[in-house]
Symmetry: C2
Subunit: 378 residues, 2 copies
């Protein structure tokens, strides 16, 4: 009997709902036990049924990477939204419009100039924005050091300007470069310690700073204690991916996103299968390239999702994938993977691969298929 996914056109993005639900439960239970709230970063899925499943499991509000995601969530009834990218001043009118509609949108800055632009706009509009200040805990991207004099200037500027400083936040993005529990635990502790210290430094000058928000999927799953932290933001845990697998924070049976593809050709002399999932389907993300195992453009599985050992997703053009099985298998290639047969590919990076698709096809435990639309663009 054909499985429901046999009816899908390829390439298609599949979500394994039971795996996704287990991933959601795992993170939520962990943070419940550590006594902090979870504010999932929805930039991974950009998909309402996924977000609603996270909220149903106990999440408190959402984290977004664009104001379009904020608008999308608010339109679906989600009011507590944290736009966790330092806001460009040009986006303030869009943020204001959301707040005026009733969205409890909070904003981020990490500079005096940014804070001043926000205050100037807010005063002009008679608005009191809910603000966070970004802390740099590992030097990988944005944020102010916990002990930087500028941190106190920003806090003071926001406070004097009449804004509501909700708290400080950080993201230990360098966790993506690690792959063993002691290193991950140490970074998680550094993330916690520096963000808590930043909050304490702000409180010491008499500015209220109630919240301490940290997070990345690897550190959230590695932290041994979260004293002083009030919430954790994490995103990719909802699907996991091969980058997370290499880091060591998930098992193969927790990978919930895959790409269904059809075999469209062979180059038997080279031991190649050609598929209709190229980089447009997988994205160009080669996040495992410098990790302990380079998965090429993804891990090749059969249609049921079982890993095919020795199959390397070695090349990708826009709508062509090249899977190499080696010349030792060139004789059986064509019969083992005939034209029209199907494979599933586990992606390196779920956020990047998902973004290539307008819809997910979500597969329930009983095989029922659901089409879940996904947000695209800004």
């Amino acid at each position: 009997m054909p499985t429901p996914i046999a009816s899908l056109d390829t390439p298609a993005a599949l979500i394994d709902i039971p795996r996704m639900q287990r991933n959601i439960q795992r993170m939520q239970q962990r943070l419940n036990e550590l006594g902090v709230r979870l504010r999932p970063h929805i930039k991974t899925s950009k998909c309402l049924p996924v977000i609603h499943a996270q909220i149903a499991a106990g999440a408190s509000g959402v984290t977004v990477s664009t104001l379009k995601e904020a608008e999308h969530c608010f339109a679906a009834g989600i009011r507590d939204v944290f736009y966790a990218v330092a806001i460009a001043p040009g986006k303030l009118p869009q943020a204001l419009a959301l707040r005026r509609q009733g969205c409890n949108l909070s904003l981020l800055t990490d500079s005096v100039a940014g804070a001043e632009a926000i205050v100037a706009f807010a005063q002009q509009q008679d608005e009191r924005f809910d603000m966070w200040i970004e802390i740099d805990c590992d030097g990988h991207r944005s944020g102010l050091a916990a002990d930087a004099p500028a941190l106190l200037e920003v806090a003071q500027s926001l406070s004097n300007g009449g804004m509501h400083l909700r708290g400080v936040m950080t993201h230990a993005g360098s966790s993506y470069e690690l792959d063993n529990p002691p290193a991950l635990q140490a970074l998680a502790e550094q993330e916690r310690r520096l963000c808590v210290r930043a909050a304490e430094n702000i409180r010491a000058i008499g500015v209220a700073c109630a919240e301490v928000s940290i997070g990345s999927t690897p550190t959230a799953l590695s932290a041994l204690n979260l004293d002083g932290v009030t919430e954790v933001r994490a995103g990719v845990y909802v699907f996991f991916d091969l980058v997370m697998h290499n880091i060591g924070v998930c098992q193969a049976d927790e990978l919930a996103l895959s790409v269904l593809t059809s075999v469209i050709g062979h180059q038997p002399d080279k031991g190649w299968i050609i598929t209709d999932a190229g980089w447009m389907a997988m994205s160009r993300d080669r996040g495992t390239q410098r990790q302990r195992h380079d998965f090429g453009y993804g891990q090749v599985c059969n249609e049921a999702g079982d890993w095919i050992e020795g199959a390397q997703f070695s090349g990708a053009n826009q709508e062509h994938g090249i899977i190499s099985l080696g010349t030792a298998q060139h004789e059986t290639l064509v019969t083992r993977f005939p034209i029209g047969s199907r494979l599933r590919i586990l992606p390196n990076h779920a956020c990047a691969t998902g973004a290539q698709f307008p819809d997910y096809h979500a597969v329930a435990a009983d095989g029922t298929l659901h089409t879940w639309s996904r947000l695209h663009g800004w």
Copy 2:
């Protein structure tokens, strides 16, 4: 006075219409002079105003990489559509539906099994598909060798099965690995010679094979003669990009696609600017990584489009770009590129960057802005 692009939210994909029009003219005139038709590959833009400009300049039909592109073009009145990816048998009903609506859709195969699946379906549906056979001219991906016995089997199978064999096609995709005119001219000649030979081999067994279709932007712009060729397919020439610039087939003032971004932060000690164009805006395509000049995630320009020497787009997260100016400039960084100021980034690969955006913002010579929507998904 603010420029019209000052009104745009960031990140935004900009098309410089005069550059695009010159690129279109350049390729069309070249192929007119060589006496062959141009069938542009619309996978680069996936955008009707761009495609209509190509047709207005003299293009004959279009090449597509997905059946969704075919449907989109046909709905806009474009009837001659070549789906230039070997068709998965599961997509034949969708192709049939397009033909039954009056689209002159032609299909591709490169295997006996593929040909047999097409014939079986066509006979069942009482349809006569227009077919092309894919030739491998440089070993980079799909196709049959010009002298492969299987080529004649495929041609015979299609012909005996009642299909209309329009011709043979090839794509010298390995041209992306070259960067000097003699090597490009040699590959262009190899592409021409092998595809013509494949057609001659088919004709020699008494099967009609009228057309010889070749193409890649680098070889199309390098070929010295196209004897025996009837049409050229090329895509990225419409916008060009940094990969093409490294290959040497375009000048800086021909790069027609860029991404507008806002400065959202700084790390002065590291000499970094943080922007709101990360990999979601640029794509993860690092196509210049192994070329003569590695442009990181793109060439950084000021808002007017002038290249900023020494600015390296060194890192990208989902909605954050990291531009490194080096620590020598850390003192002037914040005043030279203040929060909220804007930059333009030239992409490595126009096809991949364009795909990240639902719309282009096309800028006419007089500065007028047009919003041009772009196709997404399959």
